[in-house]
Amino acid sequence: MIGMHAAHSSGSAAGLVPALAVAVAYVWAAQRLRRRGDSWSGWRTLSFVVGVLALGAVLQLPDGEFTAHMTQHLVIGMLAPLLIVLARPFTLMLRVLPPSSSRRALLRVVHSRWSGWLISLPVVAVLEAGSLWALYRTPLFASTQQHPWLHALVHLHVLLTGLLFTFAICQLDPVRRRYGLLPRAATVVLTGAAHAVLAKSLYAEPPPGTTFTPADLAAGAKLMYYGGDVVEIALAVVLALQWYRAEGRALARTQAV
């Protein structure tokens, strides 16, 4: 028997509808800012829309094969979170909401002690790397192939940890605590290494309780390894450009004196 039991389509339209709704809400909010004369980069809007639509689209893939599953994993856990975080959704919400109880509530959440804890670097690193190892190196992965609800829950978990991780690394939206370049770079390198090691180990040994063909397993593992690189390079570019701009501002200050 090839692959898993029944290749089930995971999301059907259920994934696309909320994705479209969120994309429309973002575009509407950005338009509102622009109409009142504020600037809001079109790149951010594009990034957000592509991010959530990719999320909705990839859920339509039938994931009977390991390679298809890995494509989903890369988009849901890494690529879509990056595109969404680059679009600074919290900044947009804070700017578009009028001074009101809902805006104050949002600020309270952003600045709360628990959200600061949740997006601290050690927590997001352990969540990101730990979740992956737990998924692929325990019978959890085999169970998700049998229980659609568990499968959906794991997708949601992967998305949320991916968002938290990228959010904490990029620090583009307002956060309670700010980290310097070095600890953030170290976190990316360490979790990137955990990702690469897991990818190579999957090449040799499938998740327990699964029966993927060796060719499928090898292709999926390579996709994980090199796909992870692409997102890591993108994160490195984000951090490096933040440093470059900060240095530029410091340089301008010394030259102004």
Binding site: G192, A193, K200, A221, A236
Partner: protein
């Protein structure tokens, strides 16, 4: 105000670019183009995988940060080309020496090539690495 060179920062930018370039050449030329290196050897111990994962992840980051540091040095007129070149040679040489001795031999990650006598390959690989390290060190010590 005349521009002041930033020698230490130039060296570090070079080291990061050197490590990243060596890792990149290893990945594209030997893994992807020549298909000499294997993605995974069944005999590789866990330590070999961890070492490979760390250097792989660090290599990409290093080259991006190194290039942006280079751009910053140019913007400040603070680039020491000698120090940058020395750094590139040192970074690339040390990485390749580590790859050729610890990763290929000690940790048994994978070999340079399969189905051939490795002696020539191993010596070429490591001597080339040592030459880069020595050249980099000499260039670093030379008076400007």
């Amino acid at each position: 105000m005349p521009p002041t060179l930033l020698p230490t920062r130039s060296t570090w930018a070079g080291v990061l670019i050197g490590i990243g370039t060596a890792a990149f050449v290893d990945e594209t030329v030997f893994h992807q183009l020549l298909h000499w290196h294997h993605f995974y050897d069944r005999s590789t111990p866990a330590a070999g995988l961890v070492s490979d994962g760390l250097f792989h992840a660090f290599g990409w980051f290093a080259v991006v940060i190194g290039l942006v540091m280079y751009a910053d040095l140019r913007r400040r007129d603070g680039l020491s080309r000698r120090r940058l070149t020395a750094g590139v040679l040192l970074g690339a040489g040390v990485f390749q020496l580590y790859d050729g001795t610890v990763q290929h031999k000690l940790l048994d990650l994978h070999q340079i090539r399969y189905g051939v006598d490795l002696t020539v390959y191993d010596w070429t690989w490591n001597v080339l690495a040592a030459v880069m390290v020595v050249a980099g060190a000499l260039l670093l010590r030379r008076r400007a």
